[in-house]
């Protein structure tokens, strides 16, 4: 992507490649380390952090109330009914899992593709994945009629000699999500070990030294350690890469395997994966832009990152748009009455507003990203990220709820009107996600120092010493 017309005197632009830099000029190993570790090791927690943490904590309180009442009364406090037996809970499950995908994509696939720019954002993208999976994983349990028996979905040995039913896609979800959660946590943790060593070494407090020391599991930064570290990262990246494709594919099978019009379609796996990455990148931007601003990390998370994320969103957004148009085309081309009616109902039925919201948020507005100028506008990007997150929520809403409101037998058509407990639970998980994220940015290095240091020009091994133009001191 040519960015040659960028002003030459802009220090953020690499004069050789003409592209925006991944790291602002003038940084050294030390400055990078300090920039990142000061956030964690400071003894002065910013007031803004406390404020955000409190707000998020309050929302977690709401979630706790919602969940407690849910367990006491039953899922009947939600709006789920017959025929719409799945509502917000499943919408949110799919939405959160989708959001997680960007983290894995950034950390695994981009690592394999040697996309160095990913290094600045991969840590918190991975954290985002984990927190999103935590939020997502709550829902399959919460939405059960008898959540205390949720463990029956696991194939554990029991005296009844009774297994789960392996033909059910919900069963596959259990494996997909639990695998995904495990790999994500391991990958995240192993990637963090060198940085935890740094924090251990730089920590001024006994507590910090003890806990970071514990977590650093004896990291000394020896060559042997680095070799093992690189190998395991690559291996885990290799393991995680298929998950990016498989997890959301499996989740899409919850719908594809069923015979409801609007669910029963073979296009779902690829289009769910694209949608997941789409929403995931939107969430990365939603998080990165305020953090970058608040902690003054513009040097490390640069316009280059924002531009790249926008490009990924544009690309995946187009895939998603292709998916939608294929659905519409197939509704007509299949000559199936069910499909035709389903599509008509999505567009012009009582819940047509949700479809058009989805089209506006996910297809129409993101076309603005073709403009390079807008792609590099931080405020616009933030707004676009929020729009896409909303759009992706509506995509799942349209698939889950609108399809169910009017299915095969017209006598059983119904509607869906979310209750305060539905909203409370949804905003509660947003709060939980934010809450965990606040803890993360306060206590763990959100930007991988070790990987960033490797990107500095100083890290380049050269045959012959020569003056380094951008070197600092």
């Amino acid at each position: 992507m040519a960015t040659k017309d960028a002003p030459v005197n802009n220090p953020m632009v690499d004069p050789v490649t003409g592209e925006y830099r991944v790291i602002a000029p003038g940084h050294s190993f030390k400055s990078v380390t300090e920039e990142v570790s000061r956030i964690v090791l400071t003894s002065h927690t910013p007031l803004g952090w406390w404020f955000g943490f409190m707000v998020a904590g309050t929302v977690v309180g709401i979630l706790t109330i919602c969940v407690t009442w849910l367990f006491l009364k039953g899922v009947g406090i939600w709006a789920v009914t017959i025929p719409v037996a799945w509502g917000f809970a499943i919408v949110e499950f799919v939405w959160w899992i989708g959001i997680g995908h960007a983290g894995t994509l950034i950390s695994a696939i981009l690592l394999l593709f040697k996309q160095g720019w990913r290094n600045s954002i991969n840590r918190f993208a991975e954290a985002m994945t984990i927190f999103a999976v935590i939020c997502a994983a709550m829902f399959p349990v919460l939405h059960l009629g008898r959540p205390w028996l949720g463990y029956w979905l696991f194939p554990y040995p029991n005296t009844m000699n009774y297994w789960p039913q392996f033909r059910s896609p919900l069963m596959w979800d259990v494996f997909a999500v639990s695998t995904y959660g495990t790999i994500s946590v391991v990958f995240w943790y192993i990637g963090m070990i060198p940085d935890l060593g740094t924090l251990r070494d730089r920590s001024q407090t006994k507590v910090g030294q003890f806990f970071y020391g514990l977590l650093a599991v004896g990291w000394r930064g020896s060559v042997r350690h680095w070799v093992r570290y690189e190998t395991s990262s690559l291996l885990l990246a290799g393991l995680a890469t298929p998950l990016v494709l498989s997890v959301h594919s499996v989740i899409s099978l919850d719908f594809s395997v069923a015979l409801m019009p609007g669910w029963h379609t073979t296009i779902f796996p690829p289009y769910f994966v694209a949608g997941a990455i789409y929403s995931g990148f939107a969430m990365v931007l939603t998080l990165a832009i305020p953090i970058r601003k608040f902690y003054h990390l513009e040097d490390l998370i640069t316009i280059r990152h924002i531009d790249n994320c926008n490009k990924v969103m544009l690309a995946t957004g187009l895939i998603v748009a292709y998916g939608y148009s294929t659905e519409v085309f197939m509704a007509w081309y299949s000559a199936s009455h069910w499909e035709y009616f389903m599509m008509w109902n999505r567009m012009f039925g009582p819940m047509g507003w949700s479809y058009w919201t989805l089209i506006t948020c996910n297809i129409a507005l993101p076309q603005l990203l073709w403009s390079r100028k807008l792609r590099k506008n931080v405020g616009f990007t933030f707004l676009m990220a929020l729009i896409i997150n909303t759009g992706m929520y509506f995509e799942r809403f349209v698939i889950v709820v609108t399809s169910l409101t009017r299915d095969y037998l017209p006598s059983s058509w119904g509607t869906y009107r979310a209750t305060k407990w539905d909203y409370g639970t949804f905003f509660g998980t947003l709060g939980l996600f934010t809450f965990l994220f606040f803890l993360f940015i306060r206590f763990l290095p959100m930007i991988p120092m070790s990987e960033l240091r490797m990107m500095l020009p100083q890290a380049r091994v050269r045959e012959k010493a020569e003056p380094i133009p951008e070197a600092g001191d």
């Binding site: 789920v80 009629g145 009774y162 039913q165 059910s168 015979l259 009455h337 037998l409 017209p410």
Partner: protein, 1032 residues
């Protein structure tokens, strides 16, 4: 018992203790069996002691007490095994059978024949009794008149008996009294009045159907010639009897023999709508039989002229909606046209109406002697006069119409009698008013001001099952014994008498009207049992009287008691036919609620919840009107509308009903009750604008939009199809989207008779591809080696009466979920009647389709359950394992028929387990489901298994027809057939080979075990052509 006394209430030591009474009774009576304990428990000493010992049984029922405490009370007040058994009070939480009666095996139900007394004629029933708890009421399949089948109200009487809100004591001004205390007061009054011949004593009773009760009154009348006995039911037969008196000079009932009728013309008669119509069960059965096309292509044809949209109207081949005031004129015009006399006055008929009239006339004339004209119970007397004349002129009398003695032994024009009574009351002439099972404070026309008139009555006695609106005002309230708790007798509509047997000793020691009247006679202590036996002594005298009596009890009817046809000829012509109310005035049509009737079943949860036919109203009534009327008054559905009539006003929710005649508002009676935990506050009270002059129709009402909204609860709403033709719609903007889709999707298939003859395979037309073979699936096909259960539902004879739904509630312990849950789609019914409207909603055709689990062989639900909680049995049933269900609800999402029901909340608890009485009603063979569990129709697997066990014991195969599902058993038209489809000779297997049989949604390869027999309409081709109907 002593230990329990302390946990219950304080004992008044002055009064005889239980031990004393027990000793006294034990000496006198010794060990006796349950039937006689009834008498024993009624002895005044004992009754008084019980009342003193447990003055607050009420709190005992309502409070969440242990089952043990409940049984102690029950043991004391009922003592099923004879009082001697109580000397050693069992602590075990079981029934105190010290000596089990020889005919009782715990866990094995016993069936008793009885009869449900109903104003329009008793419904002979078989009551399933589990350990002497009645748990299911079914139509008596061997009864010559009913031959099985029932209706929602009959089914619901079970819950009515176990209703925890029933009154449990004799009350005097709100305080508990004993029955002997009442009797003492009553007898002293009688003694006072004896010299004056009972002057000032009046009885106000519901319609009497018991010959014994009538006999008791007639005897009492001899002693007290001045006492009065007035019968009044809000749903009465005044129109019919007024006309009968005028035409025949005597009260007669008309019985229609639809098995002989090829052409049926209904003049506002909802004879397929439920037990409200006299003789419903037989009419529905005969109607259904003539629509089976069983080896013949002869069918009946139904014309309906109606002022209120009913399911009968929608079963008609040709239906004409008129205003209520036009029906009489139309009837007269029709009578004139068929040559049955002419009437003064007339009306200007529109082109459409004239053609309809012409078509019906031609058809009636062509099938003279094989046709019948049925007038509606709520139509004017002139409609009945016209019907009498037409049936006479067409030679139907003796063939399709038979006149008999009335089923009511004391027929009367009830509204006139009530008016006279109210006049007497207002004149201060009524000293004692004994109200028997009626609720006149609530259920009388508003212009009579019955409540005010009551203020001028000295003493008011109210015998009732509940402390209802009347019971609250009455001085004395006597708790009534339910018909399942007492001895009585009743006649079915054809006159066949049945003995009403008690299935259980009165739960709350209630008393019957028989007992009150008996106390006026010379032998006041004759028990109801003896009184009933006395009534039928002569009938049963031939041969061995004891044997005959037992046979009558066993069979459920007394042979040879059916009425003989009476030869009567109508005289006096058509009367003066009232002219239709012209102009723009809004006419009100009053109708009893299909489920809660006149309000007496309003506290029965099943009846509130089960959606009404056509309107699908649940837990509500509405101001029903046509779309055009709605629009004309600037209303929208769900608007609160004020209906003013004769200076009185009510506020109701506006509801558009397809096919309703314009300019008419239908007001439903029976809701808007003040009392009762279930009934209270539901809907509006239609009696508040009912006028005694013309209780069923009133012109000159006014409608006013109040500006508020009334959130009507309907289980199924209809959307107008706004799609253009290019989008798959019809482009008219007047059709129902659901109706259009049901036809496009092949859910409803039907043809006219000539189309059927031309193409017997019409039901399979357009099925694009062959059904895939079972082996085409990824998963191996199931093999069904022995039994393969299947069901066939005949859409041609289904009349949408809801009997199957109510029966399913009773059989399968289905919880009642309440208004809010119903409104948001969580009604738990396992079988429902889907209603689709075809064509212009101003005058649509409707299709009823009972929908229940299809037990798919290739079941979408089974595949998606992650824990294997819904599985396939070797006999092809699709079973829910409640204990395994974790409640993902995926199965429901994937069910194309949406027949699965989910316990979103703890439904059973709310309505059952707080009230221990309801727990007694539960079918012990069916699990009560808890929160978070999916449930659905099981083809009544408990009945299948019971029969299989019997067959296994006898080492034989199951016979066809031996297993009857609850819905099949309840169906009055025999539309549901269940059986083994592997057995090629079974009825269901044969039905499945019919060319009209089709599977709903079979093209998505669910391989449903339930199939439907497509409807065939025997239309009048000429009339259809001239009206432009059935053109597509």
């Amino acid at each position: 018992m002593a230990e329990s006394a302390s946990e219950l209430v304080q004992i008044e030591t002055k009064k005889p203790t239980l031990a004393e009474v027990r000793a006294k009774l034990a000496n006198q009576q010794g060990k006796r069996f349950w039937r006689s304990v009834d008498e024993l428990a009624e002895t005044p000493e004992f009754a008084e002691m019980v009342a003193k010992e447990f003055p607050s049984q009420a709190s005992e029922w309502i409070d969440p007490v242990s089952r043990r405490a409940f049984l102690k009370v029950m043991g004391a007040s009922m003592a099923l095994a004879g009082l001697a058994g109580c000397t050693k009070q069992p602590d075990e939480p079981i029934y105190p059978y010290v000596t089990a009666p020889p005919d009782l095996t715990l866990g094995k139900p016993v069936y008793f024949a009885s009869a449900f007394p109903f104003a329009s004629g008793a419904v002979p029933v078989l009551v399933k009794s589990e350990a002497y708890r009645p748990i299911k009421v079914e139509g008596n399949p061997e009864h010559p008149y009913i031959r099985g089948g029932s209706d929602p109200i009959t089914q619901a009487t079970l819950l009515d008996m176990y209703d925890p809100d029933r009154s449990q004591h004799v009350l005097y001004r709100g305080d508990t009294r004993s029955w002997p205390a009442f009797l003492a007061a009553f007898r002293s009054m009688l003694a006072d009045k004896k010299p004056s011949g009972g002057q000032g004593l009046c009885f106000l009773s519901t319609t009497v159907t018991s010959p014994t009760l009538a006999g008791q009154w007639q005897q009492a009348q001899k002693n007290y010639p001045q006492a009065k006995f007035v019968q009044y039911d809000p749903v009465n037969r005044d129109s019919h009897y007024t006309a009968a008196k005028q035409a025949f000079g005597s009260f007669v009932d008309a019985q229609y023999r639809l098995d002989q009728a090829d052409v049926i013309v209904s003049l506002d008669a909802d004879f397929l709508g439920g037990a409200t119509f006299p003789g419903f069960h037989k009419l529905a059965r005969d109607y259904g039989q003539k629509r089976k096309l069983d080896g013949t292509d002869a069918m009946n044809r139904l014309y309906v002229v109606e002022s209120v949209t009913t399911s009968t109207g929608f079963k008609a081949e040709h239906r004409l909606a008129l205003k209520p005031s036009e029906v009489a004129a139309f009837a007269a015009a029709l009578a004139g046209a068929v040559g049955a006399g002419s009437a003064a006055g007339g009306a200007n008929w529109s082109d459409h109406e004239s053609r309809f009239l012409q078509g019906v006339t031609t058809d009636l004339k062509a099938s003279a002697g094989k046709c019948v004209v049925i007038p509606g119970e709520f139509a004017a007397p002139e409609v009945h006069l016209a019907a009498f004349a037409m049936n006479q002129a067409l030679g139907n009398v003796g063939k399709t119409v038979v006149y008999t003695d009335p089923v009511n032994p004391m027929p009367s024009i009830q509204t006139d009698d009530l008016k006279a009574l109210v006049a007497d009351m207002n004149a201060g002439k009524v000293d004692w008013l004994v109200i028997l099972n009626a609720n006149p404070v609530y259920a009388t026309p508003v212009d009579l001001n019955f409540e005010d008139a009551l203020n001028r009555v000295g003493t008011i006695v109210h015998l009732g099952s509940h402390v209802d609106e009347t019971g609250e005002i009455a001085h004395w309230h006597i708790n009534n014994a339910h018909y399942l708790e007492m001895w009585s007798d009743a006649r079915a509509y054809d006159g066949t008498a049945s003995i009403v047997q008690p299935m259980i000793d009165p739960l709350y020691g209630g008393h019957s009207a028989n007992e009150i009247l008996q106390s006026m006679l010379e032998e006041p202590d004759v028990s109801a049992y003896d009184a009933v036996r006395g009534t039928w002594k002569d009938q049963l005298a031939k041969g061995d009287p004891e044997f005959n009596w037992r046979k009558a009890l066993h069979d459920g009817w007394i042979d040879g008691t059916a009425f003989a046809p009476k030869t009567v000829t109508p005289k006096g012509g058509l009367g003066s036919v009232p002219a239709p109310a012209g102009g723009d005035s809004v006419e009100l049509a009053f109708r009893p609620d299909t489920n809660v009737y006149d309000g007496r079943y309003a506290n029965v949860g099943w009846m509130q919840e089960i959606p009404r036919p056509v309107t699908n109203l649940s837990w509500d009534n509405a101001a029903q009107m046509s779309f055009a009327t709605l629009e004309k008054h600037g209303l929208a559905e769900n608007d609160a509308v004020e209906i003013a009539m004769g200076g009185k006003k009510i506020i109701a929710g506006a509801l558009a009903v397809p096919g309703q005649s314009d300019g008419v508002v239908v007001v439903t009676l029976g809701q808007g009750r003040r009392s009762g935990r279930v009934a209270g506050g539901v809907g509006y009270n239609g009696y508040l604008i009912q006028q005694s002059g013309a209780p069923w129709m009133q012109a000159g009402a006014s409608l006013r939009k109040t500006g508020g909204t009334y959130d009507i609860c309907v289980t199924k709403s209809h959307h107008i199809d706004q799609r253009a033709v290019s989008a798959g719609g019809d482009g008219s903007g007047t059709h129902s989207l659901e109706g259009n889709e049901s036809l496009d999707r092949g859910i409803i298939r039907y043809a006219t008779l000539s189309e059927f003859k031309a193409d017997p395979e019409f039901a399979h037309e357009g099925e694009g591809h062959d059904t895939p073979e079972p082996d085409d699936s990824m998963f191996p096909a199931y093999r069904y080696d022995k039994n393969a259960w299947g069901m066939s539902i005949d859409l041609n004879s289904c009349v949408g009466c809801n009997a199957c739904v109510a029966a399913c509630y009773a059989e399968n312990n289905i919880p009642v979920v309440g208004r809010l849950q119903t409104k948001i789609g969580r009604i738990m019914q396992w079988i429902r009647i889907d209603t689709y409207f075809e064509g212009d909603l101003a005058a649509p055709r409707a299709h009823f389709q009972p929908m229940t689990c299809h037990q798919c062989e290739n079941a979408p639900c089974e595949q998606v359950c992650p824990v294997g909680a819904t599985v396939h049995t070797p006999e092809g049933l699709n079973m829910m394992i409640y204990n395994r269900c974790v409640g993902t609800r995926y199965c429901s999402n994937n069910c194309p028929y949406k027949v699965r029901r989910f316990n979103f909340l703890l439904y059973s608890d709310v309505y059952d387990w707080d009230d221990k009485t309801l727990a007694l009603m539960r079918n012990p063979e069916v699990s009560v489901r808890s929160r978070g569990v999916m449930e659905k129709c099981s083809y009544c697997v408990q009945r299948i298994e019971a029969v299989k066990i019997e067959a296994d014991k006898e080492n034989r195969n199951i016979r066809d027809g031996e297993i009857r599902t609850a819905c099949q058993q309840a169906c009055p038209t025999d539309a549901i057939v269940f059986g083994n489809i592997n057995d090629r000779t079974s009825r269901v297997a044969k039905l499945k080979t019919l060319e009209r049989t089709y599977g709903v949604l079979a093209d998505i390869n669910t391989r449903p075990r339930t199939t439907y027999v497509a409807g065939v309409l025997n239309i009048n081709e000429e009339l259809a052509k001239s009206l432009g109907e059935y053109s597509s």
